[in-house]
Amino acid sequence: MIIAKNIVKTVSTRAGELHILQGIDLHIKAGESVAIVGSSGSGKSTLLALLAGLDNPSQGEIYLGDQPLHAMSEDQRALLRADHVGFVFQSFQLLQGLTAMENIALPLELTRADKAEHLARQYLEKVGLNERGHHYPNQLSGGEQQRVAIARAFASQPSVLFADEPTGNLDGETGQRIADLLFDLNRDEDCTLVLVTHDDELAARCDRRLRMNSGRLCEEG
């Protein structure tokens, strides 16, 4: 499903070249759940962004399905994302001016406007917030906001879901329940999951764990 060959990411800063990723090879099968762990600043988010086509590698090849991301333009990748990719962020990233329902419907409206409302309602129910559909993000708790974000990610029925520290901004118990929801839905939807976290317990629930260490990746147990 996802293949990365020798990816290098280098950015130039005022202090000189910064080698964030230093040759990463990766193969993720369809339906698999993979956790990427590692200390802060080791390059996890950078890798995730590259795999999802949010950014271009400095070197190397990345395939999502059979599409060569490294050879595509930003807009081609955007269209690919609209159809195949879902996202969950550490800081939720809901649009403040839209209600929960509208936030969930947002990606659908970019592609399948006709079914947007129906699907959005369906996923709102799946994350257990059917009472809160017309509430705005600032009227929801952190956990509830992340539920909306998860519903939004799954509603477009992606083939790959990327989550960047989805529980990072939540307390232990809430984080636990969000993780449950994430894995349940992932199983139901039969979707590939790539998860970045430094919570070992969360990582343990994935099929595979990869450790990022100063720009290099190695398989764990």
Binding site: A52, D55, A78, R81, Q90, Q93, G97, L110, D164
Partner: protein
Amino acid sequence: MKLALKMLGRDWRGGELQLLFACLILAVATVSGITHFSSTLQASLLQQSKDFLAGSMVLSSPRPVQSAWIEEARERGIAVSENVGMASMAFANERMQLSSLKAVSDGYPLRGKLRIADTPFSAESHVVQHGPAPGEAWLASSMASLLDIQPGAVLEIGKTTLRFSQVLVDEPDRGFAMFSVGPRVMIHLDDLAAADLVHVGSRVSYRYQFDAADALIADFKAWLEPQLEDSHRIRTLDDAQPRLAEALQRAERFLLLAGSLAVMLSGLAIAMSAQRYCQRHYDHVAILKTLGMTEGRVLGLFATSLLLLALLASLVGGLAGWGLKGLFEQVFAEYLVDVAEVSLWRPWLFGLATALVSLLAFAWPPLRALQKTSAMAVLRDLVPTDPLSQGLRLVIAGFGSVALLMIYTQSWFLSLGLLGGLAALTLVVGLLARGVLAVPRRFGGLASPLGLAWANFQRHRRHTQLQLMVYSSALMLVGLLWAVRSDLLDDWRASLPADTPNHFMVNVAEYEVDSLRQQLNDAGVATETIYPMVRGRLTHINGESVRTQVTKEEQRSIDRELNLTWNDALPPKNVLEQGTWWRDDANDGVSIEARLAERLGLKMGDTLRFQIGADILETYIQSIRSLDWQQMRPNFYFIFPPGVLNTYPATFITSVYLGPEQKPLLTGLMREFPTVTIIEMDVIIAQINSTVDRVSQAIEIVFGLVLLATAAVLVASILASQRERRRDNALLRTMGATSPLLWRACGWEFVVLGLAANMIACLGAELSLAAIQSQLLGIAPSIHWHLWWVLPAISIPVLVFIGIASSRASLFEPPVVLLRDS
């Protein structure tokens, strides 16, 4: 201080200060430039009024005045010149011609310039500030042509022989002698005695011009006034406002008004960009506070850097204002006489005050919020609560605006009126904007740019509302300014159409009327009505002497020979206000001009007694008529029905339009009709036309300033929401929105915003225009159709362009930012 400088430098590089700085400069430049120019113009107008009198004060008398008065004036340090006017025959070339002779002393004119030329009817002339030398005579073109002589020839006046040395084109104080007996001959005062023209009983007028500083003149006037006799008359600047000055003053007021709009709009832009500047520094302050900085020092730090900014802006803005003033001066160059340079400091101080007041009123409130930022914001995303209530902020902004307007207009009436008007406008437009946004929430799917744009509006309702309000107000003001300008110009131009009569022919004898009309027609010159003129004096109103009836001021205006006429039809451009025009059964009264009737307190039916020569004529007011004094045609206070005045000796008057190519006709006409006096108004008309053009250019400059300020407001309002927009767009992109979609959505957003704003603006402008037209200009309200398409046609593309250009950064936002720790 050092820290503040450092911060300023960093913020500048970070691109957060440029807009604030630009707005400050704009405000400072507008204020200092326009006030500077306006004081120059004022000084210049004052000077020109003095030119119009050829001095600061004029004393006229039918006899020479006591030499003690003149000596007193000289002792007080006042410059005095003297001139004597009378009708006299001039002989040359075996012809003779009645002239209006003016003998001037050395020093004449104390103010203003004489314009002379080398040949009669020449297009080239130059100015001098002295009269003819003894032994010389300067002749009006028509005089030279009547006598058929060229410069260099000799002519006789009375018992003296003089050399015709120059053609006299214009004199500063000629306004008093419009309907003189003949063309002008100007000689030196010394030659008058030699000519031996003044005898007992000859009608001579003596004029003494005085010139000195205003205070000296006022003192002298106070000293002189009690000693004056009835026949003495004093004129000062107040009586001598030439028409041109009035037009220029109106223009100046209009500039001032339009400039205040630019100032207010820059104020708004300053407020918005200051708000944004502070918002972006919340984190910064929170960290400084966790590091142990006190509130006072935070305030000090930011206040110092803003103060530095104000100083810098007032320097650069002052410079720009100076350039602006230069620009205006160039446009008005021919009206600006050399005035002692107005102080450079004053406008600059005005500019500095503008910058300070703007920052204090508009930037200080958000700064307070910044100061109160909690250190906790480092840990959590806290929006600082504003220590000042919304209401208080409005009050501060209101005071600031009034202060700004006061600095600029120096008139309470204007400042409060403008602010009140603007406040009412904002309120109304705000309500309208709310109405526009209350339409359906959704507008097609998000996959279409328009749908996405609409969703964006709904997402930022409050901000959209604010934007709509600001754009429509700004557009409305721009439209209003433009429409009023064209209304005004049209009005001015309409009063002087291209074929407006530009020559008066006076003193036409009765037996000459028919042949004159014939000659003019043969030459292809359209003739207006030729009016008879009988000289008469109004002596009694309702049986009582005018002297007891009206105040001294008004006596002056009627206690002289009036030109009475008769005509069977109502003259063109005259409007009957009351009563009826001559009918077979009603033609025994007189028709009076409305303004005079009002001044003298006359109403329909009042009886009037005129003295014409030795005869008495009793009549009553049968109608009251208003007329446009701006019209360059014979205008009369009193019109009689045909048949009443026929028995009195009359001369005739008419006005014609002569194009430049027809001017040579004059020479022939003058020979044919030697007693006819021709008054050339074409120079004055050309001057008025050029004034109108100048004024319109000046308005365009100010208009440019207003547009700049509007653009600044536009950019500031877009930048204000940019942070949020960046995040939104990044998110939309991760979810698969392509950049063309976002670009187009952004474009649509501004198109829709522009359309709505234009609609509100045009509507508002029409309503205000209707009020202005009917209340201020006294024109019938009309719909300005061009506004409805010109305004959108220009503003929407500009809006979309500026909108997209300033949103560029948020459109290019790479989606990766969402993964960065917030």
